[in-house]
């Protein structure tokens, strides 16, 4: 694993904009950054990222299987009791999941360590799946990188296949509605991209904002044409659905949700202590405890404290002996915290680097790399492409 400085394509911004990828730059700071790329060997990808991702996904299923039958665990995860039966049913009925991203700290050697699982509402999908792929093709054509390079990235192909399978098996029956929150062009962009994948798979789709969803007299959700919603892809966290006004209508609504409700167990930072408790010593896991657990004191010294529902690095606190704690501001934390052993991100040319390992329909199929000047990556962290050669 190396960081290689590169020449940029002259017209990449024009291309990004013509494809609708218009958050490539944020407040004049680059988000998409092709002034460098990361280079991996095939065995680093296959042995250190791909295989562990598949294995962790299976460990996660064991956690879900255990959590749905344990009121103690569901309480620790701060999941409202009104939703326990619904979550359990979503798992037992094998409601299908579409995608997720495991975040790893990995420096090219030794096992990748799982930092967290964005299992419910992962973003940076389009950059990983499509724009990174396009960069590879064009960078080879322009001789910016050697011909014959590869990339760990069949995300797009797998997404289209996954939608085809969902349709064939009637997991998506009729029209697929897709929704994100208003005022987030990035989230909307991610959902519009997934809509494009669904369309390429032959599905009929309709986009609307979460705020626009309606309800009828029978407690069924409706779109802006007053048509009932049967399947809803929502880029909107389950923990917010559960506290929203319409949340209580969800279990009886008859709507199939993607991601399904059981993903709320995996997107919760409480997943990390549960994994450690069940598979302590696994090479890809870091020691982690709920902050209320007396064993959390074992991690005194160097640790990271994370709210159960934190997203995009918000409210994460990093503590190192002899240093001021590093805190990211944000709205989360009232729901409780976990403590995870500190495994600092590797530093390449002064950049802190995190690996996002993508799964589609639970199969690992690609990777996206984010860099930050700070040891905690956030929603503003730069996205850099990668190559295998």
């Amino acid at each position: 694993m190396q960081r290689i400085s590169l020449e940029q394509r002259d017209d990449w911004k024009t291309q990004a904009e013509s494809l609708g990828f218009d958050f490539h730059t944020i407040d004049d700071a680059p988000y998409w950054d092709e002034s460098a790329c990361y280079r991996f060997s095939l065995s680093q990808i296959e042995n250190d990222i791909e295989d562990p991702s598949e294995e962790i996904e299976n460990l996660c299923f064991e956690v879900v299987q255990r959590a749905i039958n344990s009121e103690e665990i569901l309480t620790k995860l701060a999941i409202p009791a009104d939703f326990w039966d619904y979550i359990r049913a979503s798992w037992l009925n094998q409601e299908k999941n579409l995608y997720g991203r495991l975040d790893f700290s990995y420096d090219g050697q030794g096992p990748a360590k799982l930092l967290e699982y964005n299992a419910d509402t992962p973003t940076s999908l389009y950059e990983s799946s499509a724009f990174q792929w396009l960069w590879l093709e064009q960078a080879m054509e322009l001789d910016l990188i050697p011909k014959g390079c590869d990339q760990y990235n069949s995300i797009h192909e797998r997404l289209v296949e996954a939608f085809q399978t969902l349709q064939r098996n009637k997991d998506i029956d009729g029209k697929l509605h897709l929704a994100s929150c208003q005022n987030s062009p990035e989230d909307e962009g991610t959902v519009r991209y997934l809509e494009e994948c669904a369309t390429q798979a032959g599905l009929e789709t309709s986009f609307l904002f979460m705020e626009e969803i309606g309800i009828d007299a029978n407690g069924h959700f409706t779109d802006l044409d007053d048509m009932g919603i049967r399947t809803l892809f929502k880029l909107y966290p389950w923990e917010w659905i559960m506290t929203d006004d319409f949340g209580k209508s969800v279990p009886q609504s008859g709507v199939t949700f993607i991601e399904p409700a059981w993903k709320s167990i995996l997107s919760n930072k409480g997943l990390l202590p549960l994994l450690w408790e069940m598979f302590e010593g696994h090479p890809n896991l870091l020691p982690a405890y709920f902050s209320t657990d007396p064993r959390a004191t074992q991690l005194e010294g160097d640790y990271v404290k994370k709210p159960l529902f934190s997203r995009e690095g918000s409210n994460i606190e990093m503590v190192r002996q002899g240093e001021q704690p590093l805190k990211i501001a944000g709205p989360y934390g009232e729901e409780g915290h976990i403590i995870q052993a500190l495994h600092p991100l590797p530093v390449f040319d002064g950049n802190h680097t995190v690996i996002g390992s993508w799964l589609v329909a639970s199969k690992p199929c690609g990777m996206g790399i984010r860099e930050d000047n700070s040891p905690i990556t956030k929603d503003s962290s730069r996205f850099l492409p990668h190559v295998i050669y």
């Binding site: 494809l19 499509a130 760990y152 519009r192 789709t205 979460m210 944000g330 503003s380």
Partner: protein, 182 residues
């Protein structure tokens, strides 16, 4: 190779394809009752009965629903409505049009892509059979060709009583935040 073999240039913005328009029209069969169905060439009575039952079950789900019989009759004609076996959340009656027939796949050409469903006749266009989401199917019984989207299971037309119940839990977006995801 670890990457996608090809990638149709995927847009992030609004979808440009109206895909249903490109799909092949589908063969569907329309009947008013089981007898009519079983007399059609290539259709056996058992399948006719099974599909009739499927359509009857769907009828409750997909038929247009009204909270007054007058509103229902305005759309479907006098005495063409019945009480639905559901209630509003406040316990009021719900009305729906009578099922006038059903649609199923053509058994001669393998009708697997056709969703069996109930059919209705509206007051303003009584000679045509229509689906629960008001798509025209055919003016006659027997086998007809319809656009692919008509052959799909209908979504239900209903009345929205309230919107805006999702979204309140999202933290207020500040200039430094771009995404609620992760």
């Amino acid at each position: 190779m670890k990457r996608s073999k090809s990638l149709k240039l995927a847009l992030m913005g609004a979808s440009v394809l109206a895909l249903s328009a490109c799909e092949e029209p589908q063969d569907v069969a329309v009947f008013e009752n089981v007898d009519q169905c079983s007399q059609q060439d290539g259709f056996d009575r058992t399948s006719c009965e099974e599909n009739m039952q499927l359509a009857k079950d769907e009828h409750i789900r997909v038929s247009p629903k009204y909270t007054s019989v007058e509103d229902c009759e305005a759309d479907f004609g006098s005495t063409q409505c019945e009480i639905a076996p559901v209630q509003t959340s406040s316990g009021g009656s719900v009305f729906m049009p009578l099922m006038m027939g059903y649609m199923m796949g053509n058994m001669l050409s393998g009708g697997s892509r056709v969703a069996t469903q109930p059919l209705y006749r509206s007051a303003d266009d009584p000679k045509n059979f229509r689906t629960g989401d008001n798509q025209k199917v055919a003016g006659k019984t027997g086998v007809s060709k319809v656009p692919a989207n008509v052959a799909k299971a209908p979504t239900t037309k209903t009345s929205t009583i309230r919107r805006g119940g999702f979204g309140a839990s999202a933290p207020k977006m500040t200039s430094s935040r771009r995404s609620f995801g992760g």
